[in-house]
Symmetry: C2
Subunit: 319 residues, 2 copies
Amino acid sequence: MSSEFEFLDRIRKKFSLGKTGDDCAVLPKDSKTDMVITADMLVEDIDFRLDWGRTELLGHKALAVSLSDIAAMGATPTWAMLSLAVPERLWDSKLLDSFYESWHELARVHGVELVGGDISKTDGKLVIDSIAAGEVPRGKAILRSTASTGDPIFVTGPLGGAAGGLKSLEDEMFQCFFPPFGTLRLTLKQLQPTPRVEAGKLLQSQGLATSMIDISDGLSSDLAHICRASGTGAVLHSEKIPIYEFLDEITHDPGELLDLALNGGEDFELLFTCDRKKISAAKKAGFCHIGEITANEGIVELIVDGETRVLTPAGYSHF
Amino acid sequence: MSSEFEFLDRIRKKFSLGKTGDDCAVLPKDSKTDMVITADMLVEDIDFRLDWGRTELLGHKALAVSLSDIAAMGATPTWAMLSLAVPERLWDSKLLDSFYESWHELARVHGVELVGGDISKTDGKLVIDSIAAGEVPRGKAILRSTASTGDPIFVTGPLGGAAGGLKSLEDEMFQCFFPPFGTLRLTLKQLQPTPRVEAGKLLQSQGLATSMIDISDGLSSDLAHICRASGTGAVLHSEKIPIYEFLDEITHDPGELLDLALNGGEDFELLFTCDRKKISAAKKAGFCHIGEITANEGIVELIVDGETRVLTPAGYSHF
């Protein structure tokens, strides 16, 4: 039996689904503009659970994961489509109404228009295919493959919150008691992520980013994607990695906190390499300088307390 | 409990999924071109069955249903995306390899490029979201809403074959014996439909069609869609409706044959209303003149042996 990883690898290659190797496919629109487009297939009990409560946030999250891909290209989102396979047990529930409301609430924030999609019944699980498109000046989409040795590495915000939220949601205690404020904030990082659309546009328009990806799998995995695509390595300074403040609700152990920030997925912050001449502008914009790109192809190193170790990608390898 | 129809209706309105009321959404591309885009969600055991055999044709069908939507707008297909939710039982089967092969075989015929998509695991059914886009001269996409009273009604080819194929596939006898040639042809109409892309482009470029839809639900239902969108009625002449030749493998009863042609879905022929001045060009191109648009809003009539009866849409109402 293939492992998930072998299956993923084989089928991605077969179907060219990772063809562009980027968060979105880039297609010419007109003489001045490229269109970027992405699809995210979300499956009940794999990518989300209905028994977590707060199902009213599911529409938000479905759109957010796709807008995050648009943001990672430095593009401005424009329109979206939704395809749903809906089991009969949900037809009369309030779930789809609230799905719709939270989807549109986020869409309004970013001026995204729902232009189409499809709906089918299923006798299996709820499946959502979220498709979103955006625009970027011609030839200016920010790719994963364009990092250079010496480029400083940045993230747009603190990490580990969504993974901490997942831990809280999976903790049965959380289901029984009214959670403390910090725990609630953690769970919202998981259930209601903020796509960093404005940050992505800023990084593109000011020419700050030389390469970019959104952190969906986890910092260690997503940085490895950039290194693989760019033919480089990287070094991270552990003390510079920003850790989501409310993680202290679930642990005070520095190793565990670092692990959540390095390997926790779905924070949907942007990870980018910066034009060396513009490092101060990136810092001024509030982004965090966490390391540098190296010539050490395929190797990501982590410096902890002055000691260097090789960092293995250990983020969530979803399909 | 809502019926499928009530649920469909409610959720389509909520999500504006039928917003444009057409087979595709139409979006401006550049000053000379519109982009059309469609998504089709295909669910195992709802839209297809793996125990029908010939699963190697599933990739063909997934792309064909979307190309048929592109054809119905008079557009030229350009690119596509595929999102798959795949249960573990299929990871090591040959199904995905053959899915890939038959998808690409049809894509090559129409010059369609696979630009992206997503893949997720599922512990439910196999789900395929097929997304396809095309291009049409600006403002020239053929809509459902532009039929006028007096316009002749045409179909591009014979009807009922796919429904006959479905009957054969559901017949257990078919599973046991090697089918006769005619039955095989019927099942291929169901499993390997031909999207009428060239016909759609011809109808658009020569200005023949005043409105158009593809026959996915069935002639009676799809003609009702045109009438509703255009605020018209229609009259069909039963003896003019072309019936797929190999249907005589399963019945010789004229009423049953007519029923299959009127109400059988998934033939993926194009149903269009014709510019009255160009009726002879449409006939010369080999298309079949089957009726006329009337002012009798919302009423589709059928003339059988000189008697007129009201035709109720009775095609397959999928989601």
